[in-house]
Symmetry: C2
Subunit: 157 residues, 2 copies
Amino acid sequence: MAQLSKDQIETVRSRFNDYLRSQNLRQTVERALIFDEVYETDDHFDADELYGRLKSNNAAVSRATVYNTLELLVDCNLVVRHQFGNKQAKFEKSYRYWQHDHLICLDCNKLNEFCDPRIQTIRDMVAEIFDFEISHHSLNMYGHCKKDNCPDRLVSH
Amino acid sequence: MAQLSKDQIETVRSRFNDYLRSQNLRQTVERALIFDEVYETDDHFDADELYGRLKSNNAAVSRATVYNTLELLVDCNLVVRHQFGNKQAKFEKSYRYWQHDHLICLDCNKLNEFCDPRIQTIRDMVAEIFDFEISHHSLNMYGHCKKDNCPDRLVSH
DNA sequence: ATAACTGCAAAACATTTGCATACAG
DNA sequence: CTGTATGCAAATGTTTTGCAGTTAT
C-alpha cells in the first residue's frame, strides 16, 4: 500500500478513536502504539512481525494485545485480514485504498497487487444470482514469475 | 461436487496409482482407504472430518497418514486445498471438475459454488501484465444470504 | 533386503483464554 | 471508583515431526 501523508494518518487515527468511543472501548497507550506501528508499515505483515517490530521499538505490548487490537482495527475497516494459503493470517492497512487483489509468487512469496473492474461486475452478478449481500471477497492468484529477477525461482518453471 | 460414476472413480484411482508409481511411492492399504473415503465424499471436508469418517468406518489410519495422503492427492491434482478465512484447511476432490469459485454465507457458513468465464480472462490478463505463469487461483466471496432459508441468519442483515 | 510407510506421541505453530493486576473514564 | 484492558502463561486446535516398528516392492 502506498505511503500515507501525516494528515491522512491523523484522519485515520481519529477514525479509530471515534470508533473506540462509539463502542465504549478505551483509548489506551497500547492501542495507540499498535495503531502507529500498523500505519507506519507499508505492506503486508502478520501479527508476530508486528509484535516483533513493536518490541524492537521498545514499545512493549503483549502478543494478546496485538491480536486484540488488530481485531478492532479490522472491525472498523482500517485494516484488512488476508489468508494467503497458509494458516498464518496477513494484515494490511486499508484506509482509502483502492480495492485490489493479490498475485503471489510461489517461488519467492512476493506479493503483487492488481485491480480489475470486472471483478466488481462478477460480484454484482453472483450477488444477484444467489440473492446475497456480498460484504467482501478475496481473490488470490498463485504462480511463478517468468522474469529472471525472482530470487528463488525454481529451474523447473 | 457432483457425484462420480463407478467408472470415473476407477479412472481417478488409477491416476492416483500411476502417480504413486511415477514418484516411486508405495501403494499402501492406508492410502487406498483414504482415497476411497475422499472420493465417496461429495463436498468440502477438513482433515479431521476425514479422519473421523475413516475411523467410524473401522478404517483405522492415523491422523499423520491422513495429512500425508491428502498432500499427495493435492500434489497430483486429484484434490484441491482451500483456505476459507479460518486457519483450518478445507479439501475437495477435483477430478474433471469444472473450475469454480466459492460464495460463503457468513451467517451459516454454507458454501455455494459459482463459475464465471470472465475470471479466466482476468487470469490471462494478470499473467501477461506481471509476466507470470499462473498455476491456480482462489476467489471467495463472503456475505449474507437475503433469503429466509438461511438458518442462522442474523437479524441485522 | 531395504527403503519407504505407518502409528503414536510429542513438538510446533498461530491464536485464544483465564486470571490477577493496572488504569481509563 | 468501577469495569475494561493488559500481560503473562497456560490452553487450544491444527498440522508437522521424530522415531521405532512394519511392510511394499
